[in-house]
């Protein structure tokens, strides 16, 4: 693996995890009675852009290197399901995240001050934040399983 690809892989992982952490902050703080709107806006912005960059650089690694250099090792190894299930599911479910994050970011940016007093909208956004976090965790853990199968 070239230095560029190692760097891309590292940043894909760290930024993906950072995005999940940022949205964990959004989720926890949306549950409060009094909403820290500025924090929510910043956290969702950090989360959204982290996911975006993670998508692009992870996608580069995946399209250019993974298919020809890593996938064959996993398929032939002890844990072929590392690719046939975990990677296949991960690479497609991951595509949801930037769109979900975009909605959360736009909503908090534009209507952040309104959410505290609008219980139905707040409840829906709590669920949306929860899905983003849970999907982020699933992505991260899937990545661990996939990488662990490369031997």
């Amino acid at each position: 693996m070239s230095t560029l690809l190692k760097t891309f892989l590292a940043f894909h992982v760290i930024l993906g995890v950072a995005g999940a952490i940022a949205y964990a902050g959004v989720w926890m703080n949306l549950l409060k009675q009094k909403l820290p709107v500025r924090f929510l806006q910043w956290a969702s912005a950090i989360g959204f852009f982290s996911f975006l960059i993670s998508w692009v650089i992870g996608g580069y690694y995946y399209a250019i290197y993974y298919g020809k250099a890593v996938k064959p090792i996993i398929i032939k190894g002890q844990y072929p399901w590392g690719h046939s299930f975990f990677m296949e599911a991960k690479e497609h479910v991951f595509l949801f995240l930037p769109f979900l994050a975009a909605v959360m970011f736009v909503t908090l940016l534009i209507a952040g001050n309104r959410i505290e007093t609008e219980a139905p909208l707040k409840r829906a956004l709590i669920w949306l934040a929860g899905i983003i976090v849970v999907l982020g965790i699933i992505m991260a853990l899937s990545g661990v399983i996939i990488s662990g199968a490369v031997r």
Binding site: E88, F99, V103, A111, A124, W127, L128, I131
Partner: protein
């Protein structure tokens, strides 16, 4: 103070567009694995099937957002309730999409052969 029309329209447009994008990703993921000519077309057009799915999802998201921006809020609609509704639709579509993709690849990886 009620949310302004333009703010409401932007949020609603992006939310429904995201729901469409998520549904599209789910649909094309399963379809392309079952109907290989589609996967081949994606690979031929975009150099990689996964890149193609992502790019088409982005185009769909931007396109649908733009179209929905042309439809302002009805005057009598309670805007925050409408946004709650669109967010719930996105939540449900995302959950169904995730379950569908996971179930599909469980079938492909463990049950098919």
């Amino acid at each position: 103070m009620e949310l302004s029309n333009i703010r409401f329209t932007i949020i609603r447009a992006t939310t429904y567009a995201a729901a469409f994008a998520v549904a599209f990703i789910t649909g094309i993921t399963i379809t392309a694995d079952l109907y290989l000519p589609l996967k081949d077309w994606l690979k031929l057009t975009f150099s990689h099937h996964w890149v193609g799915k992502g790019m088409l999802a982005i185009v769909l998201f931007v396109g649908i957002s733009a179209i929905l921006l042309l439809f302002p809020a009805p005057k009598d609609e309670v805007k925050t309730k409408a946004l709650a509704r669109s967010t719930w639709i996105l939540v449900i579509v995302s959950l169904m999409g995730t379950i569908s993709i996971i179930a599909f690849f469980i079938y492909e990886a463990f049950l098919k052969h």
